[in-house]
């Protein structure tokens, strides 16, 4: 369902992605691990078009975008929006809209992008809030919530657009350790329900638990990939071993 071919991206002539190939099936949960600055986040941001790749090709659920050009024509922009609508993004820093209530945060995109009538959007939002365990926070403002609660709202917000794939960009890195578990619990549940997802994380235990496949990124390339058991217990590459030993002792 997801096909990425030869994705290349540089910032000011510093290469960040140096030719990524990736294919992923529906309902597959893929976890990206690797040292900071290896290109994991950039990969996610390219997938949902927050960054425009220099070259390569991204296909999600039949919608294909070629890298190398900023979309200008209305047709190109429409295609870009179609691609974005197929992926939901959860950010490290939550990025909830502070001027909206929790409910409005979740309904704004369905209402204005998909044209869902407000009562329906509200009802759907309340279901999603119940799913992430925050049904009583619908009328709160983001500033009134803890970091863990905010991130759960952000997950509900992304789910409200019914994406084909959810992209999680270090969703627990900005949280205190005692708040991480409530977010991870929601993500585990989503994985069990068979949601297609790509997760960038430093939570190795979590990765091991939910991943169907692990991708080890280093220096803009996928160095090694495979099922979690193999990657964690029997890594093939020196760099993978080195990285895992560092995280393990941390």
């Amino acid at each position: 369902m997801i096909a990425v071919e030869k994705l290349v991206k540089s910032y000011n002539s510093t290469p960040v992605l140096r030719g990524i190939d990736h294919a992923q099936n529906r309902s597959e949960a893929v976890v990206l691990i690797g040292p900071s600055g290896c290109g994991k986040s950039t990969f996610l941001r390219c997938l949902n078009q927050l960054e425009i790749a220099d070259s390569g090709r991204i296909t999600i659920d039949g919608v294909t975008i070629e890298g190398g050009r900023i979309p200008r024509s209305s047709e190109e922009r429409e295609r870009q929006r179609q691609l974005r609508r197929r992926s939901g993004m959860v950010f490290q820093s939550f990025n909830l809209f502070p001027h909206f209530t929790v409910l409005q945060n979740i309904t704004v995109a369905p209402r204005f992008v998909k044209g869902v009538p407000t009562p329906e959007a509200d009802a759907r939002a309340r279901q999603l809030l119940a799913k992430v365990g925050l049904e009583n926070k619908a009328d709160a403002y983001p500033a009134q919530l803890s970091g863990g609660q905010q991130q759960r709202v952000a997950i509900a917000r992304a789910l409200a657009m019914e994406p084909q794939v959810m992209l999680f960009d270090e969703p627990t890195s900005a949280l205190d350790p005692e708040l991480r578990e409530e977010v991870l619990r929601v993500m585990r549940q989503l994985a069990e329900e068979g949601l297609t997802m790509i997760v960038v994380t430093h939570e190795m235990q979590f990765a091991r638990d939910i991943a169907d496949r692990i991708l080890f990124f280093d220096d803009g390339l996928v160095v090694e990939s495979g099922p979690p058991d193999r990657i964690f217990s029997n890594p093939q590459h020196e760099r993978t071993r080195e990285f895992l030993s560092k995280v393990a002792t941390r």
Binding site: R84, F91, N95
Partner: protein
């Protein structure tokens, strides 16, 4: 040229001196001004050279040099006193207050000998006989007498004799100008039907213009005299003697012929008998507030109308400018940026002049009210655009990213996510600008709008009660601004979303 420090030292000394004079009765000091002039070897005379032909004006051939019949007269007078003459530039309708402050010793600038002026200051025997002249466009019929003016827009100079005469005609749409060049421009632009002004000005500016004509004969003759402080009796006596000598020995006639303002009326100067001066009665506008406050409030209505409409324009135009500057294609972005920089980098006064007096030359003729709104509004639009830009850039980049990631278009992102968050940041500086607008709007009096400050100026000119009227006017401005502040506070609190 004098050095600035010397100038300010002299100003301070004179200011202290005037303070001493003001604490009457101290006649012993009064005779000292003439001594002071002689010891300093300089007679400082106050006048306004802006649009001042043929009285005092920059020589068109050598603009760094002032010429005019009053320049020659000042030199002749100073020579009679045995000193040199130095002109002190001062806005015309503020000459009397400046004289009283001690900025100069005499006023020599077409100051009419009127009961009002003689109540306030001492006036010498006349040095010139003026009359009023009506000027119209070449093809205008009638309007040969001010009594024919009912219902017509008529231009006069601020606080001139003509203003006082035409004010009395009922139904006249009186337009008051800061300078005479502007009156003739508007006359030719069909904004007004006639200008009434002192004959010498008409002779210099209107006579050579083929598009204009003198309508009817000169009327309402009167005298120009030299103004001095009432306490300076010996100076006044010396001036009277000097003027009389200049009139009798033909020096005045020579000067006036040189500038083309001599006529047979000037013969009267030789034998002038002064009338008795009525004692100055002081007016307290505060005690008589029921008479003055409504006049000020009527000016305040114009100020409010102007400020509200101009601010509405600024708020909307500023938004357009900032959106173009941040999100449009490159050439439009540069244009928006250039707009902001040019508007911010040039004075509002010049912008107003260009809109009101400049645009008619390319066929766009706005009345004063619309020109004022356009000028103020477009000026403030640049400032609002910058306020918005600061607000938009204060929204963290994660916010538009989150919106775009949800599939919102660029415009939806702006509309639902970026602008609402920018709004809260933008309210305090925009309110500030709105309050500043109330006060800045007073500048539009230069394009003949009569708003609160102009009404204050006109009333203060005729009552000389600067303090009473000033307190009332300041009170009105404050009463306008403070509710705007309160409203902004409430709005800001209402838009707070970071409460816990």
């Amino acid at each position: 040229m004098k050095s600035a420090s010397r100038l300010s030292r002299v100003a301070v000394r004179d200011f202290v001196f005037v303070l001493l004079l003001a604490s009457r009765p101290l006649p012993v000091f009064a005779s000292d001004t003439l001594e002071l002039i002689r010891s300093r070897d300089v007679l400082r005379w106050g006048a306004d050279a802006e649009g001042g032909a043929p009285y005092v004006y920059p020589d068109p051939q050598k603009p760094e040099q002032l010429i005019g019949f009053e320049v020659d007269l000042a030199e002749a007078l100073a020579a009679k006193l045995g000193v040199k003459a130095t002109m002190v530039q001062n806005q015309w309708d503020q000459l009397i207050p400046a004289l009283e402050r001690g900025n100069f010793e005499i006023i020599l600038n077409g100051l009419e000998i009127t009961p009002e002026n003689r109540q306030r200051i001492a006036m010498s025997r006349p040095y010139f006989v003026y009359a009023q002249q009506i000027v119209t466009r070449k093809n205008t019929d009638g309007l040969t007498r001010i009594e024919d003016f009912g219902g017509k827009p008529i231009g006069v100079l601020s606080s001139s004799v003509a203003q006082r005469l035409v004010e009395k005609i009922s139904g006249v749409d009186l337009r008051i100008y800061p300078g005479n060049v502007e009156t003739f421009r508007d006359l030719k632009a069909n904004r007004i039907e006639a200008v009434v002004l002192d004959l010498p000005i008409a002779l210099y500016y209107a006579k050579p213009d083929p598009g204009l004509k003198f309508s009817g004969a000169p009327f309402a003759p009167g005298y120009y005299g030299i103004g001095a402080r009432k306490s300076d009796a010996s100076l006044l006596a010396a001036l009277n003697q000097a003027v009389e000598e200049l009139a009798r020995d033909g020096a005045l006639e020579r000067i006036y012929r040189k500038y083309g303002v001599w006529d047979e009326r000037q013969e009267r100067l030789k034998d002038y008998q002064p009338e008795a001066v009525p004692e100055k009665k002081s007016i307290s506008t505060l005690r008589d507030w029921p008479k003055y406050l409504p006049l000020l409030l009527r000016g305040a209505v114009t100020t409010v109308e102007l400020s509200l409409l101009a601010m509405a324009l600024a708020v909307v135009a500023g938004l357009v400018v900032v959106l173009v500057r941040l999100y449009a294609i490159a050439p439009l972005r540069w244009l928006a940026r250039a707009y902001v920089e040019v508007i911010r980098g040039t004075p509002l006064l010049i912008q107003l002049f260009l809109i009101y007096y400049g645009l008619p030359e390319i066929g766009i003729r706005l009345n004063a009210f619309f020109a004022a709104i356009l000028g103020l509004g477009l000026n403030y639009a640049a400032s609002e655009a910058e306020n918005y830009r600061a607000g938009i850039q204060s929204v963290p980049p994660g916010q538009p990213e989150a919106a775009l990631a949800l599939g919102m278009s660029q415009w939806q992102t702006l509309q639902h996510v970026v602008l609402p968050q920018a709004l809260r940041v933008v309210i305090p500086p925009v309110t500030n600008d709105f309050i500043a607008m109330f006060k800045d709007s007073s500048i539009v009096s230069v394009i003949t709008m009569v708003e609160l400050t102009k009404v204050y100026g006109m009333l203060a000119m005729s009552t000389y009660d600067y303090i009473g009227l000033g307190l009332m006017t300041a009170g009105i401005y404050f009463a306008l601004s403070y509710p705007a502040s309160l409203f902004a506070d409430r709005l800001e609190r209402k838009l707070r979303y970071d409460r816990r």
